[in-house]
Every structure is written in C-alpha cells, then in structure tokens.
Symmetry: C2
Subunit: 214 residues, 2 copies
Amino acid sequence: MSEHTLYCFAQSGNAYKPALMLQLCGADWSPRFVDFFNGETRSAEYRSRINAMGEVPVLEHGALKLTQSAVILEHLASHFARFGWASEDERREVWRWILWDNHKLTGYTAAYRFFKCFAPQLAKPDVQEFLLGRAKAAYGVLDKHLSTRQWIAADCPTIADLSVCGYLFFDDEIGIDWASDYPAIAAWLRQIRALPGWKHPYDLMPGHPLPPKA
Amino acid sequence: MSEHTLYCFAQSGNAYKPALMLQLCGADWSPRFVDFFNGETRSAEYRSRINAMGEVPVLEHGALKLTQSAVILEHLASHFARFGWASEDERREVWRWILWDNHKLTGYTAAYRFFKCFAPQLAKPDVQEFLLGRAKAAYGVLDKHLSTRQWIAADCPTIADLSVCGYLFFDDEIGIDWASDYPAIAAWLRQIRALPGWKHPYDLMPGHPLPPKA
C-alpha cells in the first residue's frame, strides 16, 4: 500500500494541485479514482464516508484524512519540507495567493470549463460570459503580479504556485492563449512545466479520456 | 491613531469578517472607508498603493499591511489569542472551512447579492439563477454540518465561524429565510449574534446607506 492515497480524477484541477505536489516531491502515492462524471461526489455514501463537502481532492496519509487542496498542500509542504516558506512574511504571502486562487481564480475558471467542455447541454451564454469575465479579471491580476517576478510568493516555487496553476494547463479546453494575452502567465507556466518530474493532469491522474456514461 | 486600520465599507461581507473579529476582541481599531461603489478598488492608485488584487479588506497593523480576510483573521487570532484553535487537528479544520467558504460560499453569495441589490441594471436572470443555485448548494452543506454541532470547527467559535458568516447577516438582501430553509444555519447565526459586542455589518463599518454617486 502506498504511503499517500489521493482521491482524484484527471479532469479536476483542484485534485491536480496536490497530485502535482506529490509527483514533484517523488512521493509514494496512489490515486483513488473518483467517478465524478457519473455522480460519485454527489452520492450520499461519498458525502458521509469520504467528504461532506462533496469534493475532490481528499488525501489519506496514515491516520489523517484531509480535504481542501490547500490544507493538503500545506500538510505535504511540511511533511516533505518542499515548496514551503522561509519566513513568516513568505508564509502570509503564500496564503494570500492561495486564498485569492480559491476565491477569484479557480472557481470561475473551473465552472466555465466544466460547462464548455463537459456539459455543453447545460451551458448558458450569459453565465459563460459572466464566468469568463471574472476569470479574465483574475488572469489580469496574476499576469501583472508575475510581470515583475519569477514565482508567486517567494524567489522559488511554493505551494502558492502549485495551487494557482491548478486549472491553467487546460488552456486548450478553456480556449485561452496565454502567450498572446497573458505573457507573464505563459512564462511562469513554462517554468512550472520545467520542474523535474512535471506532468500534465491528464498524464498524472486516472480518468482521461472520459469514461463512458454509467 | 488607532492600533489597527481596516480598509472597508459597510456592504462588504469580506471586510465584515475582520471587522467583526476586531469588534469582538475589543481592539483599538479605525475603519478607513473605501468608496467601492464609486470605483476606488478598481483605480490604478488603489491597486498600486493599497492592494494589487483590487479588494477590501486590507489591515494595517504597525508595519504590517495584510490582505485577504483569512490572512487577517489568522493574524488577529494570533495577536489577541482569541478565536483560534486548540490543536493541530482543529487548526486544519478551521482552514478547511475557511477555504471552502472562499471557494464555495462567499463568492457566489456576494456576486448574487451584488447584482440583485446594487447593480440590478447589470443582473441577468440566467446568471442570477446560476449564482443562487451554487450558493444554495453551499448553504445545504453548511446546514448539514451544523445540524450536529454548535460551531463550525471546534466546540467554541473560531475564525472559521467569523469567516463563513461574512455575508449571511444580509439575509433580507439575499432574500433568504434561514429559519425556514436552513434551521441549523439560523441557530448558529443566533449564537454569533449573541456574542458580546456583536454588531451587524451596517452598524460596524462606514458607508451605509449607500453614498450618492460621485
């Protein structure tokens, strides 16, 4: 049995955040596939046994069962002594960007891509316009921040970088061209891609391509 | 000069989170009114001098200038030794719910209420339906969680409670009846209201009623 078990599926950028961390740290980990697209996270069993919030990721590590990607990232940063902070100021800066990611970037990007790519029958033009508008406002803030620095919260990559990038390697699915519209984001994503061991979410977690409908 | 200065305005539930914390801790603090409705947070000066993310709240405390409500709450919990955690497990539980709040509750609730109450000329029915649907899904998760416990993350109130409640005292504006639809949330909000010193956001921060358009 692996040391870490991560409940995840390939299309989840939120699950990708800790999956990438485990991968970059060379952890002994196994994915536990969650069949989101056939409703597993909405099931009573999943909510009562695994995560009352009805979400991935969930990390099992020894007796610990952790949910929320940032809680997992912080735990792994402490466990592996990697991608953490060097000072109290850096710690606050890491959390500031992780919270901003949760509040302003990931949610809008994920919902927009979900409707566009995985549930076009549910997509409504006004909703898509709203979500993409909010997402692009966040990309603008991030691009400006990265235009004068190499990494988000320190002079080396931290869990803030691994959190914020969660959905951003799905650029083809989102339909965005980082290089032309957000060049500082493009350069920063190239650096993350160059980290030893980096893998795209679809190569790191199970469930791609989409499984057939149950 | 006060020990703490909080950049805020009355209608912001995100600013209310640290404002309520300061109030409940009996802090020596002053609000610095931010004229959100006349565009101050979108101005180049605000973004360059005060917060690149273009948001309230911002806390000035001595040489520190902190942004993101949860970073501020954590700092104040440490400074006042109030509303924090008693163990590492509790600390993780506090962060789990604060992150969930940022990701799943506050954003959708705040955007829905903003269009409904403050920018009806920009409100679109499909967007409002989407936002309210997401918000209600979050209320359901929270109500279920609170149906078997008194406080969110510990056996006493913590900064998780102060974060999650940020927008929920605007029930009349949101158009929701906690008592009839989410009784556990209603009971929990009554407990928060009963904390010594509690004030509604409109009684705690400047800018209510809305200032005239500039």
